[in-house]
Amino acid sequence: MKVVNNRIPSVDGLGIMKGRPAFTDDLADRSSLIVKVLRSPHPYARIVNVDSSEARKLPGVELVLTHKDFPRIPITRAGQGYPEPSPHDKFVLDEYVRYVGDEVLAVACIDSATCDKALSLIKVEYEILDPILDFETAVDNSIIIHPEPEIHEMFPIGFEPKRNIAASYSMHIGDVEKSIKESDYVIRESFFTQAQAHVMLEPHTVNARLDYQERLIVYSATQTPYHVRRIISQGLEIPLSKIRVIKPRVGGGFGGKQAIHGEMLVAYVTYKTGKPAKMIFTRQEVFESSYTRHPMRLDVTLGADKEGNLKAIDFHVLSDTGAYGEHALTVFMVVGSKVLPLYNKVDSVRFFGDVVYTNHTPAGAFRGYGAIQGNFALESAIDILCEKMGVDPIAFRQKNMMKERETSPIFAIMGEGTEGTAMDMETCKLDEAVSRGMELIGWKNKYPRVDLGDKIKSVGMAIAMQGSGIPYIDMGSATIKLNDDGFYNLMIGATDIGQGSDTVLAQIAAEELMTTVDKMVVYSSDTDLTPFDVGAYASSTTYVSGNAVLRAAQNMRKALMVEASRILETKEDEIEFDGKRFKAVSGKEITLVDLSNQITYSHEQKQLQVTSSYVGHKSPPPFMAGFVELDIDKETGEIDIVDYVSVVDCGTTINPKLAEGQVNGAIVQGLGMAIFEDVKYSAKGKLISNSLLNYKIPTRVDIKKLTTVFVDSYEESGPFGAKSVGEIGIDTPPAAVANAIYNALGIRLTKLPMTPEKILLAYKQKENK
């Protein structure tokens, strides 16, 4: 392969580095009205009265919007395919506010200062209600967070709002309780994971204008432009045909931009006033009023026999979706479906629990999407079990984990919100990943620990899997157009949010058409101009959109051959095409440039353009083994990450450097969740870790070395052998670090993040025993 699996620079990096206008706000109309939101100071309250008379008198105030301005249409902001597996439990604005930071009302003014002044003049009278701030008390609490009658589920997801349950699920294979009773070794442990923040550097940003056809043009920093268009249409009752959503360059998403945030209000303001409008979340709003990862309690029971066989896995999970149920069921199911198949030789598995409403910032999609929570619990529990059994944790994994050509019955049972899809592992290089990872980290010399005096060095590991899109649901498509002078346009619905999909998809098309990336001009994510794609989520772009691009390129090749055959007066199978030149066995030939010019300008003129789509029939999991080497300071409990080895099976790496970037970025985000990113609420339910000054993400000095390697692997169903690589990297750090801390100090931390304070406290308690 000449283009695929080669280190090609990203198609857009240079222009971005040089500061070309590219991001959503760079493209806003400079005369836009500014939209700002008054946010609830209470975790739960009913709005009794709004007095905006003073604000409305202020010059420059265009609109004051309250819940009375909007039709009573329940929606979900989740940004998923339709019908969504998330409850329709949100109104653009509502009479109730359900968390500190929830939307009370909005103003649209000529500038930011006028907005601030207007908001300060508005008097809101609240009936303050008792909130639910502890998710373990939510089910059947006397407080009901969603009493409104109009909300509903789109299909059965276990939605019981009267019990504060947004979704629930249960499955089992075999008889877990019997298997556990018969096991020689049993361990039980509960794990807690926190509401991690995405902290993409570009805040949520949207702007809108009406064009000269009176259509609503929305520029949005989104991962899901087609879903944004649909949800705006549903929520504001604007015909879909009147809306165009354009996704410019996006400054990171990580799942946080799968949902819609300011789009409804800005679209409404422009549609109502005819004037351009824009909204940019403050960083505080990004923290308090967008999305977090779902915090969870995971109760795990494992059973094994004396021969070292894992026999039973029992997972009970309670997930906190906060005030609204975006991604409630699907994140919950991924805790099981993309974690439990790792150990496919058990007799029985049970996975069950509820996703509950609380009066906290809503949770939603976030890279890993449940798998990181499940991985932390299961991969910690496996080490706990091995300790109890007195067996080596790596040998135990090697005996019990998924192998190539094997399967798990879980794939058929659990999908994302629906039944799953049975599949065998055509590619699963976990064995090789584990053994190479051991070598690269120097496991034999460092396990379990090396005492360095003031510090203890230790190693820990975990294995992980993810998916590649959602089979039979996620659809991607691609259009390829031939231009005169022999270059192509590749138009894709797929959404580049900084991960490099424009580059990777151009590589796939260029490879198939035997050309170079500079001749494959990419344009993506514009609902008027590019074909449909579900968007950037569920690790789907390389696999699903990539397969669509590959098919489009194959079809373009066929279309080219038809034209060459006509021009060269030779049968197609007697013509060879090398990307630049068509050569007939007869000796006749024509270059692509000449062919393209001829069909554009001189003979039998036509536009060659093809469109192809792809829906996955399975979701081949990428796999990886993650190994951490860390030094712990005995005095302070502080952790120094010395190295993190990732050995990844993602099939072919379409762009090895960008694939490495996906893994490295995810590892560091996972390390942030493991040891740094502490989420704190006040007693009154306000998120107080709401700025980059008190919510620490990993910085450049925290990360000195990452060793990321890819094993040889070729997934037949993927484009040029590729599986996904966007999420798999985030899953292992919490468990690998927890296992390393145990190996160093003999303390088992079960609650994230594992801060120096928690490490030291547990260590001192152990020493004092």
Binding site: S10, I16, M17, R20, P203, R283, G498, R700, V701
Partner: protein
């Protein structure tokens, strides 16, 4: 009020409010490579060079820039081109929202630190947050750029 300053070696007069921050003044005047990532100088995205030193423009009042020299990435296009090509080669590009500000900081560092160690480089750039790359590829590219003496 009217403020006179130099932006990318051009003398400019900006009309601004007394309490306005330089970030907002610059964006209002179409210097769109200077962007907002947070509200309190913690992310580095709004960095400009103020008399040659990298500063966060989100907390610098425009009036303080009166008579001073401001450089945005538009003012160091050759160096940004050089760094950008090395970033491409190392696979260090992801979303790039912070890249113009990182280019400015790296450029200032190259002029300020003579033969810095890797730790000194990381320390200098600690205020330039990145959530995408995990830093390693960026650092590889930056070390290469520092070695480039052309």
């Amino acid at each position: 009020m009217l403020i006179k300053l130099s932006v990318n070696k051009e003398l400019k007069t900006f009309d601004c409010e007394p309490g306005e921050y330089l970030l907002d003044t610059l964006r209002r005047n179409n210097y769109l490579s200077v962007r907002r990532g947070c509200d309190n100088t913690s992310c580095g995205v709004c960095t400009v060079l103020f008399d040659g030193k990298p500063v966060p423009s989100c907390s610098l009042l425009t009036v303080r820039a009166e008579g001073h020299e401001i450089i945005t990435v538009e003012g160091i296009q050759d160096e940004a081109d050089k760094l950008g090509r090395i970033f491409g080669d190392e696979g260090a590009d992801q979303c790039g929202f912070c890249n113009p500000s990182l280019a400015l900081t790296v450029y200032a560092m190259k002029r300020e630190l003579k033969n810095p160690t890797e730790d000194e480089v990381r320390e200098y750039l600690v205020g330039n947050l990145c959530r995408c790359t995990g830093y390693i590829a960026q650092d590889r590219a930056i070390f290469r750029y520092l070695e480039d003496k052309s």
